[in-house]
Symmetry: C2
Subunit: 185 residues, 2 copies
């Protein structure tokens, strides 16, 4: 079941460094790309940062709309994650081409990608200088949700292998999020 | 054996989203803190970004020196990673207190932490506005190295459990970097 995530706990969806899918929309156009380079930036209100190359179609749609969704894929979306990072939405409707489901988001116009473990709906905090110089975007998380089979009550639950999230290495290689390790100070 | 990492492959040390230890120094003062929020920012020359809270002693040392090291701890440093994130270097020499080894870095004055899997020596790219507003630092990686038991020839090698890197969740909980998943587009 897809449930909202309390905003002040939204950072936990991203805290362990998973690869994300960045979905965007502007007017009738929409797109999705993969991004290994994203991280939380603040707790409450939650903010994130993400690198979006200036040559991508996603960048064009985000510059126009000021919004995007960070979708957190799990193991069974590994191939799709690689694929959407290997082609351009200028040439292809990646949703149709790779069989990705575009679900309506709660607040932003960019879609949520079906089958993901979690979603962070984001609104850009304008910083044109660092976007121009470093392709770096800062954004506020305005809504968050998760599939309760993967994340519930503010905590990841990786008891089921298929819901494990992914960490991107390079060239088609990922690491799957592994076992939990609990230590005390 | 500790070997240099080619600068254009240095991003691979950080690409999968591990927690890092941030070490810093200024004059005789030195410190180390944990940071879950860091990511690569560019390939060549390699750049990274990291969030350093303005209330930390690390922030004071980085503001003064313009340098730091991102150290990538592995499983056996999990407890120390939690500990150095739970106390302030203003009160305690964390190296002595938690038995951490400070090794000389190649280029910067901040030390490398012994026993880590990899090291990224960083020089701050001044962006005072985003540092003041968001505690966000951008930096160029000026040297990188790794323990060849964990990372060699530009690739992670997690065949030995003790060298697996860590992903921080919250409250003493980490995920260990898990199995490799290779997919083709």
């Amino acid at each position: 079941m897809i449930l909202p995530v309390e905003l002040k706990k939204a950072y936990r969806l991203l805290n362990h460094g998973p690869v994300v899918l960045v979905s965007s929309a502007h007017g009738p156009a929409r797109n999705v790309m993969a991004a290994a380079w994203s991280m939380p930036l603040d707790f409450d209100p939650p903010k994130i940062s993400v690198v979006i190359d200036k040559n991508t179609y996603t960048r064009e749609l985000i510059d126009a709309s000021g919004e995007f969704v960070l979708n957190i894929p799990c193991r069974r979306l590994a191939q799709a994650t690689l694929q959407v990072g290997s082609s351009s939405g200028r040439d292809t409707d990646k949703f149709a081409h790779y069989g990705l489901e575009a679900l309506p988001a709660e607040i932003v116009k960019a879609p949520r990608i079906g089958g993901c473990a979690g979603w962070l709906e984001c609104r850009v905090i304008p910083n044109p200088d660092i976007a121009a110089q470093h392709d770096l975007f800062l954004a506020e998380v305005v809504a968050a949700a998760a599939d309760s089979r993967a994340f519930a009550d503010g905590h990841w639950n990786f008891s089921s292998e298929e819901w494990h999230t992914l960490h991107y290495v390079a060239g088609g290689n990922f690491f799957v999020t592994g076992e939990t390790l609990e230590v005390s100070a």
